[in-house]
């Protein structure tokens, strides 16, 4: 099985994710973009699993999915708190760490 197209797809998804994280100002959008990046990694894991003919990669991908769910749960709760304190889900609203 040729891996090249799948890896390119993964890279494209990851780049899309990075682009989304950097440009989205809405916190939920940022979270979605992070999901995209995480899934790009999962895709790569699955592809290499297939290439090497064992299940390590796929198991790791499943583990990653579970982690992603937890991460989304934490991320969304932060977004809710952000909304409560700043009345906005825009990422730029929170700049308390400004020097």
């Amino acid at each position: 099985m040729p891996v090249q197209p799948w890896l390119l797809l993964g890279a494209a998804l990851f780049a899309l994710g990075v682009y989304g994280v950097l440009t989205r100002r809405n916190a939920i959008g940022v979270l979605v973009a992070i999901e995209l990046m995480a899934n790009a990694v999962n895709l790569n894991l699955a592809v290499f699993s297939r290439l090497h003919g064992n299940l390590h990669g796929q198991a790791f991908a499943l583990f990653g999915l579970a982690l992603t769910v937890a991460e989304v749960a934490v991320g969304l709760s932060i977004v809710i708190l952000l909304h409560r304190s700043h009345r906005s889900v825009r990422v730029g609203a929170a700049s308390e760490l400004k020097g």
């Binding site: 950097l22 940022v30 929170a94 700049s95 760490l97 400004k98 020097g99």
Partner: protein, 611 residues
């Protein structure tokens, strides 16, 4: 070394020490015990008793019948260096210091008794303070007189300056008195740089601080010239020689008895005493002595001219002191140190007399101005008479002839002419003062003038008596006291007498009873001289204000705005740098993420290229 014979059954040095300890005890009592000081007259009594003890001891030493070479020495090590003593403190009595001891204590005593009457209106507290300062003055001057080496002399010298500062500024609430006190201290302190440097040079060159022939030998001619020149700078300041004389007339701001003390036997006498004391050093420095002769003679004439223009009786006397000190300095310059010393002692008596007499006049009319006096002799027979005695002594005192003879003998024609002219002028301005103050029509103030109390008259009359005695017995007393050479009966003496008589005559012609409007005259005549006197003063003022103070302001400006400015600039630079740097910290998550991604990319690229 010949030992000094015992006095009062004690060693002479102990008696010499007692002359200092007595006023010192009075000073400490009055200075530390405020209740005692505040009692007024009892406080004065403490000081006067001390001065009396001091005077008695000093005169006992004079009449102890010691041979001229006799020496009494009682010193303790005062400063150490690498375990060895190099400066001492103590009492050193010899033929030079003992007569001065007597003069200082006697004039001090007279002035203290006199002040009882003169200052009786002072508040009690400040009366006590006055006597405390007087005692300090005596201590300082005696410490100077009995010094064995230049360092102790310097100690006394500076303390005399301090006591003068305190007494000139006795009425410290008067701005003019405050200014005069500080001015006197500054100018003498400026000149004292010379004395300090002289001591340092002397020690560095010879590892000794005295003026013995051996030390002078070790010093060498060049060293002696340097040390003598430096010492003379200090003498010029202390003994008010041109152009450092400007503090002296201002010093009249103190009470009149203080002026008497300052001008007769203490402050200004210290300079001439230094010349006498350290004479071997000056003797080895002919170049310096030539300068001394000229400066002294010029001061003599200059101050005499200025004295003719004064309308304040104390200022007349102040400038006359300046002039007489010029005589002494010129005599020393000519090598006639015995004449200088004789004139110093004689001058102490009659100048104290003149000031105390003038004090009686001032006391009677409550003014220093000659214009406010006039016709006072009728009401003030004793003090007026004493003042006349003083004026005559100032004009004709025999030691002046010694000075002139010495200067003439040294072949210094220029200074001689200046001094002769000064002798004529002296007679003139004293005649003027006497006529304006004591004769002629009575001024408004003079009507209710009354003779001074006994406490003031007694010292005045005693000094008058001493002046007369000194005058009459000069030829027999002076050689014993200061070992003067025989008085030369040369043509110089006749010329001096002739000039003095001419001065008396001119004065009488100008200010006699018939010329009642004569007071205005000096303003025209000697106005020029006055302007010159004031010009020296103004030069000093300008140097102080526009030179020193302006310079100090620019130093302070540089310090604050440039040197400290650079320090502040470093603080400013780090703060503004930090200000710039903190802008990177926007606090916005995506900015940080951008940076992280950029950094990762950079690392990736670098890792590729590094391979």
């Amino acid at each position: 070394m010949v030992a000094f014979p015992p006095v009062f059954g004690m060693s002479a040095a102990v008696v010499g020490l007692a002359t200092i300890v007595a006023p010192l005890a009075a000073f400490l009592l009055l200075g530390l015990l405020r209740p005692l000081r505040a009692t007024g007259t009892p406080a004065a009594a403490v000081a006067i008793v001390a001065a009396l003890v001091s005077t008695a001891c000093a005169f006992a030493l004079v009449f102890a019948g010691a041979p001229r070479e006799a020496v009494a020495d009682l010193t303790v090590p005062w400063l150490v260096s690498a375990g060895q003593t190099w400066a001492t403190l103590g009492v050193y009595l010899d033929a030079t210091s003992v007569p001065m001891l007597a003069v200082v204590t006697l004039v001090g005593l007279c002035v203290q008794v006199y002040s009882l009457g003169y200052l009786h209106d002072e508040p009690k507290e400040s009366f006590g303070r006055y006597y405390a300062f007087h005692s300090l003055f005596l201590v300082a001057m005696l410490l100077l007189v009995v010094a064995k080496d230049l360092l102790q002399l310097f100690v006394g010298w500076e303390l005399v300056g301090l006591a003068s500062y305190l007494l000139i500024g006795f009425w410290w609430q008067k701005p003019s008195a405050a200014r005069a006190a500080v001015k006197a201290f500054w100018l003498t302190k400026l000149a004292d740089i010379g004395l300090g440097a002289a001591i340092v040079v002397l020690y560095v060159q010879t590892h000794a601080l005295d003026w013995s022939p051996a030390t002078v030998q070790a010093l060498g001619p060049a060293g002696a010239t340097l040390v003598a020149a430096l010492l003379f700078v200090a003498v010029m300041g202390k003994s008010a020689q041109f152009p450092l004389h400007v503090w002296l007339p201002d010093a009249m701001e103190g009470p009149t008895p203080v002026s008497a003390l300052l001008h007769a036997a203490t402050m200004v006498a210290a300079g001439v005493y230094l010349l006498v004391r350290a004479w071997p050093i000056f003797d080895a420095a002919p170049d310096v002595r030539l300068a001394m002769a000229w400066i002294g003679a010029f001061t003599g004439l200059f101050a005499s001219v200025v004295a003719c223009a004064q309308t304040d009786i104390k200022k007349v006397l102040a400038y006359s002191t300046c002039a007489q000190l010029g005589y002494m300095v010129a005599a020393a310059g000519a090598g006639a140190i015995d004449a200088a010393y004789a004139h110093l002692i004689g001058h102490a008596a009659f100048k104290a007399l003149l000031f105390l007499g003038a004090g009686c006049l001032i006391h009677a009319v409550h003014s220093n101005e000659l214009a406010d006096m006039g016709g006072l002799l009728r009401r003030l027979k004793f003090s007026g008479g004493a003042f006349i005695v003083g004026a005559l002594a100032l004009g004709l005192y025999p030691s002046k002839e010694l000075v002139l003879a010495g200067v003439g003998h040294a072949g210094l024609q220029g200074p001689l002419v200046l001094l002769l002219a000064a002798a004529g002028l002296t007679a003139f301005y004293m005649t003027r003062s006497v006529l304006l103050a004591l004769f002629g029509p009575a001024s408004a103030h003079a009507d209710h003038a009354h003779e001074a109390p006994a406490s003031m008259l007694a010292p005045v009359l005693l000094l008058a008596l001493l002046s007369v005695a000194g005058f009459a017995l000069f030829d027999s007393v002076a050689p014993v006291l200061v070992a003067v050479r025989e008085r030369p009966h040369s043509w110089l003496g006749h010329i001096a007498h002739g000039l003095a008589l001419a001065g008396f005559a001119v004065g009488f012609a100008l200010y006699g009873p018939r010329r009642r409007d004569a007071l205005a005259l000096p303003g025209v005549r000697a106005g020029l001289a006055f302007v010159r006197a004031a010009a020296v003063d103004r030069a000093f003022q300008a140097a102080y204000r526009m030179g020193l103070l302006a310079f100090s302001r620019s130093v302070a400006w540089v310090d604050r705005y440039l040197i400290d400015g650079v320090m502040n600039l470093s603080a400013f630079a780090s703060q503004s740098g930090a200000e710039r740097a903190r802008r990177i910290q926007t606090g916005k998550t995506y900015d940080y993420l951008t940076a992280v991604v950029a950094g990762l990319l950079l690392l990736a690229v670098a890792s590729v290229y590094a391979r």
